[in-house]
Amino acid sequence: MKVLGYRLPGMSSLLLWGLLWEIVGRLDVTFFIPPLSEVFQTLFSIIGTPAFVKAISETAYAFVVGVTSAIVIGVPVGILMGKSRLLDELLLPWVNIFLSAPLTALVPVLMVLFGFGMKSIIIITTLFAVWIIILNSRAGVMQINRSLVEMAHCFGASPMDAFTKIYFWAALPEILGGVRIGVIRGVKGVIIGQLLISIVGFGALFELYSANFLMGHFWAVLIVLFALAFTISEFLAYLERRVGYYASKR
């Protein structure tokens, strides 16, 4: 956008909203909204404290392991579903059901099955992320140009070659799209898991701060989480754009 002939950098409107927050905070309307400057002060003071470092490293660990397993499981399963009619018929209904299901409702069951710890949180993260990755990889494979497959067959590609040199790359734009949405859902999964189990990571922090009405702390942690999720999503969108040049020409 241009204002008075000057080109504003992206997301400069956030400044305006930040200002509004600051004013509302200064007016002391509610204890729930402390001034933004105070939130940032708290943020800098709690970053580096052992409790915060522990929370963020636990969350990162659960998130990375959960999302990685979702990708490692989701991409091959999706590609195989796209290639095999039988597998597709068998698995597609489940994928669709789980994609739209309110997975939060499953969390208590998972806690009973896998205990009140890291394992449950990782599994919840994976469950949040994996379905859309499967579905997108499948869609990527299904729109593959038939003659690319015939070409590989003609020049003597083994099934493994076809998988790694044709199907994977042809489906890559969709796969990355799926991974991006999967990762965003994974962020939800890891936080929801921690909140419901609430003895590890940010779940424990949130519990602590909100129980003690430490709203500055609460908002500070929330801003960190939002910023992290947004950064990851933008990074994946950047990767997606890098393969976009061939997305329309397969």
Binding site: M151, F155, A157, Y246
Partner: protein, 258 residues
């Protein structure tokens, strides 16, 4: 079997091949021989099973009955003795020109430096020097098909199968391609099988033209335009024999064109 006359003279033989898709008979008892070292066109109206026949020869489709022999061996699937040039080029859009050209060799496990030097040679042959590191989307349609052609040449198969290779390029590029194809047939001692729906193109480039008529497809006629072959590319199109053959083929096809 080696000294059998058939094996010496014909690189590819199609014997009594039928292909049914459900109740639809695409090909019926089709037999056709392809002389070694020559270019045979398969010409016919759309829907006459030209591409089906070519894909059966390639081993991409299996016939309902009958068999195809390449160099005396029955075809059971794709093999290194045949290479395919696709109508829509079938290039890997994420790979550079040189990787695309070397892709057939890559699948055969040829080492990278070796396959790239072979690819380099054929890239030069088809006139794409300097574009080794370009990507398909940066090339024109004609240049893309040159990449497809270089890929098929670089695996050094004896039989080259071409499925309407010039139909997706513009008319001027197409003429250039046809002339290049003639010199290619002379240089390379390969057998070319060329599917087309253009009568002029078939007469211009072929040593032998097999005319397929549809539903169910069979070979209705084989024409050998031998008289015009040695007259030079500049003279063929105004040669009376060329014009006669084009007219004759049109006369026999016109009733099948909707």
């Amino acid at each position: 079997m080696r000294d059998d006359e058939h094996d010496v003279e014909y690189a590819v033989s199609v014997r009594d091949v039928s292909k049914n898709y459900g109740d639809v008979e695409a090909l019926k008892d089709l037999s056709l021989d392809f002389p070694r070292g020559q270019l045979t066109s398969i010409l016919g109206p759309s829907g006459c099973g030209k591409t089906t026949l070519l894909k059966i020869i390639a081993g991409l489709l299996s016939p309902t009955s009958g068999e195809v022999e390449v160099n005396g061996k029955t075809v059971t699937g794709p093999g290194p003795d045949r290479a395919f040039v696709f109508q829509d080029f079938a290039l890997l859009p994420w790979a550079s020109v040189i990787r695309n050209v070397a892709f057939g060799l890559e699948l055969r496990g040829v080492a990278k430096s070796e396959r790239e030097s072979i690819a380099q040679k054929y890239i030069k042959n088809v006139g794409l020097s300097g574009f080794e590191n370009s990507f398909p989307h940066e090339l024109s349609g004609g240049m893309r098909q040159r990449v497809g052609l270089a890929r098929a040449l670089s695996v050094d198969a004896q039989v080259l199968l071409m499925d309407e290779p010039f139909s997706a390029v513009d008319e001027q590029t197409r003429r250039k391609f046809q002339e290049d194809l003639l010199s290619l047939v002379q240089q390379e001692s390969k057998t070319f099988i060329f599917v087309t729906h253009s009568i002029e193109e078939a007469v211009f480039v072929s040593d032998q033209i097999a005319i397929l008529l549809p539903r169910p497809s069979r070979v209705s006629e084989i024409i050998k335009p031998t008289g015009i072959r040695n007259k030079g590319t500049d003279n063929i199109r105004r040669d009376p024999e060329y014009l006669d053959i084009v007219d004759r083929i049109w006369a026999s096809l016109r009733s099948y064109v909707e």
